[in-house]
């Protein structure tokens, strides 16, 4: 299976000395626009065999660090930025502001 990888290195803010580093998000190239992806991460500099499953529609990771509250919190805090990086990589034209036509000043002008 060909994999499409979105680089996360240096893009996800974490506290100084954090044990976790988010490396990249992987998607199956043939299923690029499906809502599912896999977050690859390292602990203490070592990439882990298994990733964290991500549902981009629901904005959730389906795997949790149930025995490590600190890691879990760092993952939850990083999630919005990870999703943003993925969205910008897959849909670069969406990164713009909403069209002015729909601003409250012009909508349904009386």
């Amino acid at each position: 299976m060909k994999i499409y990888a979105i680089d996360l290195k240096g893009k996800i803010p974490l506290p100084d000395g954090a044990a976790i580093e988010f490396l990249r998000v992987e998607k199956a190239l043939a299923r690029l626009h499906s809502p599912f992806a896999l977050i690859r991460y390292a602990l203490h500099g070592v990439e882990q065999k298994y990733g964290l499953r991500l549902d981009l529609d629901k904005r959730v990771v389906l795997d949790h660090f149930e025995d490590d509250e600190k890691l879990e919190q760092m993952t939850q805090n990083a999630l919005p930025r990870i999703i943003e990086v993925v969205g910008d990589a897959l849909y670069p034209r969406q990164a713009q502001q909403p069209e002015a036509y729909f601003s409250p000043q012009t909508a349904l002008a009386s």
């Binding site: 299923r31 499906s34 298994y50 499953r53 389906l62 969205g87 969406q94 349904l108 009386s110």
Partner: protein
Amino acid sequence: MPIFYRGAGVGTYWHQHDARLTGFVPKAPTIVSSMDRIMQHVARGSISSPYISLTRSYGVAWSYALEVGLELPAENSPAYVYEIELENPLPEGLHLIDPVKKVIVTASSPLAPITYQHDGLPNFLIGVVDPDGMRKFLDEFAPQPPPARGTPRRANLTIELETIVRSLRDAEILAVGYVPAASIRQRIDVYL
């Protein structure tokens, strides 16, 4: 007899445990089912749940199996799709919930001041369905009637509406209780 499916990505619980031998059990069977639990499960991906997610769509199960694993499958390490056939009446101790019907039945009356419905532009729903690809529709301001128009804001999105949309996405049916091994007809290997 209706056929349901469940995908099992590589490395997940039902990939490592053969449901053809054990049947399916939920992660948290002692939690009491409720409307809030259903919405948390479907719309928020809550893992501590009394539900087993099934789908009427082989394609949805195939997608979960391929893409919702702890690593991507290959020919020598495939993911699985389970095929489940349930008879009517259902096996003792098992019942099924259609989350869409459940939300609609329990949603407020059309006359209630608070509703599951959004108050944005017609394209808003496209943004809910695809919050990355159609993100701009989520970000649009919700027009309000003149003259004051109130605080500029985006459209209301309730967890009820999210539950409906996500449940439709996955053709999802929730099983409560125990899906017996005898109901599992086959386990199909899948990989790209």
